[in-house]
Amino acid sequence: MKNRYNSAVVLSLIVLVCCAALILGQKVSAAGEGKITGTVKLDGAAPHMRGIDMSKDPYCSKAHATDPAHLETYVTGANGGLANVVLYISDWSGPAQVTTAVPVFNQKNCMYTPHVLAMDVGETFKVETSDQTAHNIHPNPNPMTGNIPWNQSQPPGAPPVEKSWKAPEFIDVKCNIHPWMHGYFAVVKGPYATTDENGSYTINNVAPGSYTVTAWQEAAGTQAQKVTVAAGASATADFTFKAK
């Protein structure tokens, strides 16, 4: 009889140890995740970005009285760094990206901040307005992908809109009230990053392995590179775009 109890205790201990090993093992692999960093540059001089005439809405033109607004098709910084390029792993088959911060798309001074908002498939994002003039937020995806267009008003003081997208797609966003307002929701699968004003980026939380990193620029198109990420290490992928 006692023997039986003993074996039960031993068995449950074994189960416990196995569980612990499993959990710890997962943690170990999380700590072993690497990252992909790099810089995206524009080859040659940046194309001239046309100024925007906001005179049809005095609120908007006043907001840009000292700092004229320009189109944001190509935004370059120091040393030809190209901003607003979305980097993602186009052959990602792992789980959805776990992000701590909700991506926010803000309507500020009658422009979109950021101009390009990257997000994972199914990830919740927010649309806010900081302006004292009415906007409407009108993404125009291809309904055949499973992403369905919608159109919501954002008068001054409107509560944020929270949404998500079902399928990977680079979605045009516009405001019908201010036709110059134009941005993108870049919906991708898995980890992603967007270049800052110097063209640099870091994709975090990438499990060790070989991947294809793809860079998407709204006008110049896409480029891809193979990289291998080692456990806990940082892989590099630099890109150079030519303005079209």
């Binding site: 009108h138 369905i148 267009p149 159109n151 008003s153 954002q154 001054p156 409107a158 019908n176 036709p179």
Partner: protein
């Protein structure tokens, strides 16, 4: 020489026509559409069947809506936006007149009502001469063009509270809503479709589109009852620049706005009389929001 020139210009012309960008996302084939021929609609106690609508569609609808339901019927090129909007692309499954929130499918009843009512200021007539069964069958037929109905359910219709009585206070409150959410940006301070943004409006396919002019006697495209007007701005007209205001106008305020919008309209109404008595002035877009 002359002959070759003629041939060249003919060829060039043909090439130009072929190169015209298609104003549509969809590229469904007859084979793909045919897989959904079992589509049904439910209108009250009537069940509509897509398979029974093939003949009426060919007889009444195909000329504008096209054999693939993409709105490229042989009459479509003669409808010139912004005066006349071209027919819907049924393959996209995106509809203006819905009782459901923006970004969701309309109900069968919404489609049935659209066919029955037709669209003012467009080439779509009323089809109330067709029997209810025929119209229900056509609703199922419209649905079978789009894969959306196979993957999604229609949205939940918005709740419209009972209509309150029209009072001067409500009309004044409606004017405040009109100023706060800035309907005038497109519709103009007097509802004449001459707001600062009216001239640059385009629909989802990039075609010019006009804001609704409340004052010229025409009826709103999605119906002209008070409930219809309530529904139009609370659900938005998908595919057009008209957004949904559901997050920014409370149900009770929405009735105030309906009453205020009535004061613009050419048709006689109690709202118009009250507004005349009040001596209401149009909102002033240049004043701070609180003093408009």
């Amino acid at each position: 020489m002359r002959r070759t020139l003629g041939m060249w210009s003919l060829l060039l012309g043909a090439a130009a026509v072929l190169a015209l960008p298609s104003a549509s996302w969809a590229q469904l084939t007859t084979v793909d559409i045919q897989t959904r021929i079992g589509a049904e609609s439910h209108i009250g106690n009537i069940t509509g069947h897509a398979k029974d609508a093939a003949l009426p569609y060919r007889r009444y609808c195909v000329g504008c809506h096209g054999p693939l339901g993409d709105g490229n019927g042989e009459n479509a090129p003669y409808m010139q936006p912004p005066m006349y909007q071209q027919p819907r692309d049924f393959q996209l499954g995106i509809f203006k007149c819905r009782s459901t929130p923006t970004g969701t499918l309309p109900t069968d009843q919404d489609l049935f009502d659209a066919i029955t009512r037709g669209f003012d200021r467009s080439n779509m007539p009323q089809w109330n001469t067709l029997s209810k069964q025929e119209r229900a069958d056509l609703v199922a037929w419209v649905k079978h063009f789009s894969p959306r109905w196979a993957n999604e359910k229609p949205g939940t219709p918005i709740t419209i509270p009972p209509e309150p009585e029209v009072t001067p206070e409500r009309i004044k409150a409606g004017r405040d809503v009109f100023a706060r959410v800035q309907c005038w940006k497109c519709h103009g301070v007097q509802g004449m479709a001459n707001g600062p943004s009216a001239s640059t409006l385009t629909d989802d396919l990039g075609r010019p589109i006009a804001a609704f002019n409340f004052t010229d006697g025409s009826r709103p495209k999605c119906g002209d009852t008070d409930q219809d007007i309530y529904r139009i701005f609370m659900t938005g007209l998908d595919g057009t620049p008209m957004p949904s205001f559901a997050d920014n106008i409370k149900p009770d305020e929405a009735w105030d706005l309906v009453f205020y919008l009535r004061t613009f309209m050419a048709q006689k109404s109690r709202e118009k009389e009250i507004a005349k008595g009040l001596g209401l002035k149009p909102v002033d877009p240049n004043a701070p929001v609180a003093q408009q």
